[in-house]
């Protein structure tokens, strides 16, 4: 088919786009996973006024449409004196957004840890730091895996919006090839195929965690 030939000839554009999508998502996760855990700990353990403030902030962030947030970051960074590539604007906006959602996921996962587990840890003299590191987080990593997996897929989908602020990720690549060669079907189908692949990889990872969960918790 003509269209797919075009895709093949422009495969480096697609690979470059896909590479940016992957690097953005991975970069985002590298930052937002620890930040999300930290935020969840603050939401659980801090003094009431700080907790309420952070909770309101997280709630508010989850109401912001990602595209508008990306625009604000894109136009806002130069105002702060940072003349960065649009990729960085993409990373910052993706990270802020994903952290808010992960904070909520981790917070409810912390609450789901059995209370007597925590009491036993306290009775045995574990400090709060040990309690989180050795008892709560290991359990949460396994039990919250499906929800984190869903969030990763959402982040992959959100990354496509960054094309609108000229980040050259996968959808941008498909749109570019389609516009220049007037064969719309193949490029977008190829992009959809690659997104499906990424999604499949994430779900495979979640299934592995599910198997670990079966072994440990039955």
């Amino acid at each position: 088919m003509n269209g797919f030939q075009v895709v093949w000839e422009n495969r480096d554009v697609f690979l470059w786009g896909a590479g940016n999508t992957v690097s953005l998502v991975l970069g985002c996760l590298l930052l937002s996973l620890p930040l999300g855990v930290l935020a969840a700990v603050v939401l659980t353990e801090a003094a009431a006024p700080l907790r309420r403030l952070l909770a309101e902030l997280v709630d508010l962030l989850r109401c912001v449409p990602f595209l508008l947030l990306a625009y604000v970051v894109y136009y806002g960074l130069p105002e702060l004196g940072l003349r960065l590539d649009s990729w960085w604007a993409g990373l910052v906006s993706l990270t802020v957004y994903t952290t808010a959602y992960l904070a909520e996921i981790f917070r409810s996962a912390f609450r789901a840890v059995a209370k007597d587990n925590i009491e036993a840890a306290q009775a045995f003299g574990l400090s709060r730091s040990l309690l989180y590191r050795r008892i709560i987080l290991p359990q949460v990593a396994i039990t919250a895996a499906p929800m984190i997996g869903n969030q990763i897929i959402t982040t992959i989908r959100d990354s496509a919006l960054l094309m609108i602020i000229t980040v050259q990720e996968l959808t941008f690549a498909a749109n570019f090839v389609s516009a220049n060669h007037f064969t719309p079907f193949a490029p977008f189908a190829a992009a959809v195929g690659l997104y499906l692949l990424l999604s499949f990889l994430v779900e495979a990872g979640v299934r592995r965690m599910e198997r670990v969960r079966m072994v440990r918790y039955g």
Binding site: A123, F124, S127, R134, Q139, R216
Partner: protein
């Protein structure tokens, strides 16, 4: 006469939950090397008292000393200030606890559960803790389960692991919060057997239980509670053959065979 420091000394402990008085002015001494069983009807405050001993629940008033060292609060009532978190954690390492629903950490193996606190709180070398852990598990008959996860075990086995976990800390005293109440009847015996063995070895233990015949058999002291107060403190023989209060008499008559439903925390 030489005075031995009580393993646990409770003075004037009161506890109220939102206006409802659960413990009223409790005074109690637990002598080292003895087994004390706390008996009483539901709502008598016995579990709350036990949980106050390691400050899982903080008394509203009063003091508690473990081997002469205060826990939870330093100073007398007027000038008392709460212990800081680190000191409290350190104090708790000297008190072992076994929970009604086992409270094992599900993401760790049996051996992992037993060695977790010795390694990460007491700082013992892992190899030494594991060797000791395995030998304790062998003593309670669970050597071959050391590398399995808790969910594969029966209730009686889980509770024996919980006991091993407490023993691994080499505590001064072990608290048991209704250790057999959550077990199917056929598994009660294996857990009581382990506790009996520990009593024989001279471990200081405080056990809240419904198993009256077990208490009669194993305890050095019976503490009978009712309505938030200690009503009687006596040897098993004295308590069961000649209870002094009417409430105790009624309680003994009602017998221990009816399993009580798990108490809802106020």
């Amino acid at each position: 006469m030489a005075e031995t420091v009580p393993a646990i000394a409770v003075r004037g402990v009161c506890k109220d939950f939102g206006g409802f008085e659960v413990l009223r002015d409790i005074d109690l001494d637990i002598a080292p090397g003895t087994t004390t069983c706390i008996l009483g009807p539901s709502g008598s405050g016995k579990s709350t008292l036990l949980r106050c001993l390691n400050w899982l629940d903080a008394p509203s008033a009063g003091s508690i000393r473990i081997d002469g060292e205060p826990i939870g609060r330093i100073g007398t009532d007027k000038a008392a200030r709460p212990m800081d978190r680190r000191a409290l954690a350190a104090a708790r390492t000297r008190i072992g606890m076994v929970f009604q629903h086992f409270a094992l950490w599900p993401h760790l193996t049996v051996l992992g559960n037993v060695t977790e606190a010795p390694v990460h709180v007491l700082g013992r070398p892992r190899r030494e803790a594991e060797a000791e852990g395995r030998s304790i598990l062998a003593r309670v008959g669970l050597a071959e389960k050391a590398d399995m996860y808790p969910h594969t075990l029966s209730g009686g086995q889980k509770q024996r692991v919980a006991i091993s976990r407490a023993l691994a800390m080499r505590p001064r005293v072990i608290l048991f919060d209704e250790p057999t109440s959550a077990l199917d009847p056929e598994m009660v015996g294996e857990v009581l057997g382990v506790i009996r063995e520990l009593a024989r070895e001279g471990l200081t233990m405080v056990i809240v239980t419904h198993e009256m015949s077990f208490a009669r058999d194993v305890a050095d002291t019976i503490v009978f509670m009712e309505g938030g107060c200690i009503r009687e403190v006596a040897t098993p023989h004295d308590f069961f053959t000649a209870p002094r209060t009417d409430r105790a008499k009624g309680f003994i008559l009602r017998g221990s065979s009816t399993p009580e439903p798990p108490l809802k925390k106020a």
